[in-house]
Symmetry: C2
Subunit: 213 residues, 2 copies
DNA sequence: GTCTATAAACAGATAGAC
DNA sequence: GTCTATCTGTTTATAGAC
């Protein structure tokens, strides 16, 4: 029996260290020595378990996808809600996603890792797309369709949903810029509520405008 | 007389190479050898002109700020337009910013460099804030105030403007995800027009909702 | 100012003992 | 599976000729 925090042993420790360090400093700025040190493992363990640094990155992306699925799959889809119910569910998703993106601690370092892969166009972007971006987008499109009566897979709806997602993502990616201009020290619960309220108001404005067309 | 593309000589060639390569591959993934090669300069020139790689990054950020100012300062501010005029100017800015962010070639590699500094929380983020983010945000706030009658510096207006900016930024940052889901090969003039139309529609929806409150 | 040559530190990967 | 020790290549930085 070892002192490793994971029963599965060193392998998972290394993956966890990878998600954390790759997310914090980026892939090329992270050395295998740092990874091994943080994981409490030997330098040679990376080559032994994965083959090399690049393959560790892939393993991190896969683990990211697994955890992402677990964190997302607990939301059942209502079959055919009314427009009003669909609007409420959209608002609830906005709140949940913002809590996940902006909250003090999303599970592990998943969000930074995801954003790094996006910024670096890394191999994990494929996983990000499959496990997070695409399912969420489709789910929102379905709800948007119920809320407006439009075809959920029409170009207009898909674009509208992206413009909604963009608002949420930017408040995370542009956090240093937003905080500075707003005079905030960072994102606390109060600030997240304010952002959530703003985006929900935008949602209602967009839905209302759609109905009046 | 040398064959350098810049009359000011090697120094500017290195900065240009830095903006390009740092933007494309990131700071730590770019070696001084690549930089020197692209600039047509010697490896030792970086240490001679700047002191080191890190200082070259700072020089790139400053040059970025200079070019950004030049590219932005050509828009005169109307003194006190009507609500309708303010709305039209907001729409015009949206179109211009999207053309800059999403267009085939913004001037030099300025946009990728900016996004990298944002993603890496690099020292250039300060310059990005001063020369791009803050002036644009304040200008939009002023127009938003004219369009709605609200206090341009109120928290509500500042947040609303960020939610508008976020939509534009995300269509750039999330380009691989958006393109894939939309079934686009990339962003051409037609796609940019579509995005511009969507965000302009959102602008009108938000302004309308504000008026009816 | 620009070059060659090289120093000194660091990277990722591996061989082989245990 | 994990370790130490080391190999090989690359990194940034620098010394000194021109």
């Amino acid at each position: 029996m070892t002192t490793s925090p994971h029963p599965e042993g060193t392998r998972l420790d290394l993956i966890e260290a990878g998600i954390l360090l790759f997310g914090q400093k980026g892939f090329s700025a992270t050395s295998v020595r740092e990874l091994a040190a943080l994981a409490g493992a030997n330098i040679a363990a990376i080559a032994y378990h994965f083959g090399g640094k690049e393959e560790l990155r892939l393993a991190c992306a896969e683990e990211f996808g697994r955890q992402m699925r677990d964190a997302t799959d607990k939301a059942p889809v209502s079959p055919a809600p009314t427009a009003s119910k669909a609007r409420d569910e959209l608002a609830a998703i906005i709140q949940a996603v913002l809590a996940f993106l902006l909250g003090a601690r999303g599970p592990g370092g998943l969000v930074p890792f995801m954003l790094r892969e996006l910024a670096e166009n890394g191999p994990g972007i494929e996983v990000v797309y499959r496990t997070f971006a695409d399912p969420m987008h489709r789910r929102l499109c379905t709800l948007w369709g119920h809320a407006t009566g439009l075809d959920p897979e029409s170009e207009a709806v898909r674009l509208a949903v992206f413009s909604l997602i963009g608002q949420m993502m930017y408040f995370r990616i542009g956090q240093p810029i937003v905080s500075r201009r707003m005079g905030w020290a960072g994102y606390g619960p109060a600030e997240i509520d304010q952002i959530s309220g703003q985006i929900t108001a935008n949602l209602d404005a967009m839905l209302t405008a759609e109905k009046e067309t």
